[in-house]
């Protein structure tokens, strides 16, 4: 992956910086208005989860490419990484409406729907890494 930039998230301001960095990168890669909003929103949800549940972590944003049938595909990859408590039951947190924080429970399932690729790895007591990609159409 070329040119990846990371934003530390341990305050609410980290959430704002992460989504601004995401919007800038999305513009740079050439995403349209709607996908910029999708990417920014996904980053906001992931950053908020770090802030709420792990206290500290980082969001990294970078450009990715892949050889496909129609040539080279470009995309934006978000990696959200923390060394927080981890998620015991991933199936539960991926269900719409599930929340332990009094939120809408739309965060992680929402991110999955906003992005094209979504992958979550979590070990109880060690932390969580979430990778999500949006491909440029």
């Amino acid at each position: 992956m070329s040119s990846q930039s990371c934003v530390e998230v341990h305050t609410e301001w980290g959430i704002v910086s992460a989504r601004q960095a995401g919007r800038n990168k999305a513009k740079e890669i050439g995403f349209g208005n709607v996908d910029q909003a999708r990417i920014t929103t996904a980053i906001s949800e992931l950053a908020r989860n770090i802030y709420l549940y792990a206290e500290k972590g980082e969001i990294c944003i970078g450009e990715v490419s892949e050889m496909g049938g129609a040539g080279v595909k470009k995309g934006l990859q978000i990696t959200a990484k923390d060394v927080g408590p981890g998620i015991d039951n991933i199936r539960e947190v991926m269900a719409d409406g599930f929340t332990t924080s009094g939120g809408l429970g739309a965060g992680l399932p929402g991110v999955k729907r906003l992005m094209d690729h979504f992958d979550i790895e979590s070990t109880s007591g060690e932390g969580t890494t979430i990778t999500a990609i949006k491909w440029l159409r």
Binding site: R23, Q36, A37, T40, S44, R48, G107, L114
Partner: protein, 118 residues
């Protein structure tokens, strides 16, 4: 940072022009309710034309401020939600179903008038 709230007769007008971080959103909730109380406002228009992103937290705060204002006796209309924001909210599965909305400030004021008279 604070979101400015303008008074126009019995109404309050808000145009959100700042990047909404969590604290600003919560502060706005509190400011709006105190202003409704202080001014005895019957209607509120919150214009979101300049808002480029609404995530689940901000959606929750907006939904709540509408309910809270209703409890106090003031009607709220949200206006100017951008196409990209509407698409993102529905993608996320967030439905602000009981929240009155209108295309722009002008139609928002008309809607308020209708709601308050009808």
């Amino acid at each position: 940072m604070r979101v400015p709230i303008l008074k126009l007769h019995n109404y309050l007008l808000i145009s959100v022009q700042v990047e909404l971080d969590d604290q600003t959103a919560l502060q706005f909730q509190e400011d709006l309710l105190s202003k409704i109380h202080k001014e005895g406002s019957t209607g509120v228009v919150i214009d979101l034309t300049s808002v480029e992103m609404i995530d689940s937290f901000i959606a929750k705060v907006l939904g709540e401020v509408v309910e809270m204002s209703n409890l106090m006796g003031a009607k709220v209309v949200l206006t100017g939600i951008q196409p990209a924001v509407a698409i993102t909210l529905i993608d996320m599965g967030i439905k602000l179903e009981e929240v009155p909305t209108a295309l722009d400030l002008e139609q928002g004021l008309e809607k308020l008038q209708q709601e308050l008279e009808g």
